[in-house]
């Protein structure tokens, strides 16, 4: 039979272990950002033609509609189909990423200039892309999957 004092000592030690692991439970109870809460739009797509071909530049605007700050680490950009000016398509698998290291406050937004650095000899009319945001906690949220029309002219 365990004495009362030993039982209370064991209770104290178990409580200490519980207290030690409490911070690790924090993410489960804290605010989690879902991909729908990071509204992403792509604007001003433009081909910049150089000696080795054209690169695609654009402005990516991310609006944080979650109730907590979003700590963004990286933007991952995957181009999976090219639509050429003659309407032929070409499946590709081109990846690029850009470090952002920024915090979007709850309800705030940021605009990131993004340049897809893999050059094209002939610029496609449109591209199909996926954009994923890597948060500081390592989670990945796919926030955009669609076409970017590269022929849209910017309004003066």
């Amino acid at each position: 039979m365990v004495s009362r004092s030993i039982r209370i000592k064991i209770a104290f030690i178990l409580l200490a272990v519980l207290v030690l692991f409490t911070p690790f439970l924090y993410p489960a109870f804290s605010c989690r950002i879902e991909k729908e809460q990071l509204r992403t739009s792509v604007g001003s797509p433009r081909w910049i033609v150089g000696s080795e071909g054209g690169i695609l530049t654009m402005k990516i605007t991310i609006q944080n509609t979650a109730g907590c700050d979003a700590n963004i680490e990286l933007l991952q950009f995957t181009m999976y189909r090219l639509i050429n000016p003659d309407n032929t398509t070409e499946d590709v698998s081109l990846n690029d990423s850009q470090a952002v290291h920024t915090t979007i406050p709850a309800g705030g937004n940021i605009t990131v200039n993004f340049a897809f650095e893999q050059p094209f000899k002939v610029g496609p009319r449109a591209v199909l892309v996926r954009i994923a945001i890597i948060l500081q906690d390592g989670s990945s949220l796919e926030v955009f999957d669609g076409a970017i029309d590269t022929t849209v002219r910017q309004k003066p």
Partner: protein, 162 residues
């Protein structure tokens, strides 16, 4: 037993008993200090290992103050449970601080080199400075609890010369 022997017995026996008691208390105190050192080493090692987990990105959104509070509370609770003297609690806290510091130093020195570890560790291990205080408080509470259970007082009885 004649009168002289009886007088001698009455004079010497309480002294012998008191010596034995003192020796017993001393041994008890040494045993408690030894266990405080062992507990401190284990506690500091465990806290150091847990602190290394904080660097994982998954836990990056957890406020650091929460980890500090949890570590302090753990030192307090463990010293309350396993020590019954303020000095033993203090010793446990100090040893836990040193053990955690050495755990972090060993890990960073092994992973990134001794120079980086010397630069990084002082910034990462400020919390260990508070462990001795937590140990003192834990030892005091442990002492009070032990007194309450046993009904004894740890305070020495003062002789009053009349």
């Amino acid at each position: 037993m004649n009168d002289l022997q009886l007088r001698l017995w009455l004079l010497t026996t309480p002294e012998k008993i008191s010596k034995r008691r003192r020796a017993g208390r001393k041994a008890e105190r040494i045993a408690e200090f030894e266990s405080a050192v062992i507990v401190g080493v284990l506690l500091g090692g465990a806290l150091g290992a847990l602190q290394l987990q904080e660097a994982i990105p998954r836990w990056s959104q957890v406020p650091e103050s929460l980890f500090v509070i949890a570590h302090l509370a753990a030192v307090l609770l463990v010293t309350t449970a396993l020590t019954e003297r303020v000095r033993a609690g203090l010793l446990c806290g100090v040893i836990a601080s040193i053990s955690q510091f050495l755990t972090l130093l060993g890990f960073y020195a092994h992973s990134y080199g001794i120079v980086v570890s010397i630069i990084v560790i002082p910034l990462q291990s400020l919390r260990i400075l508070t462990y001795p205080l937590a140990g003192v408080i834990g030892g005091y509470i442990g002492n009070r609890i032990a007194e309450a259970w046993s009904g004894r007082s740890s305070r020495p009885i003062r002789r009053v010369n009349r």
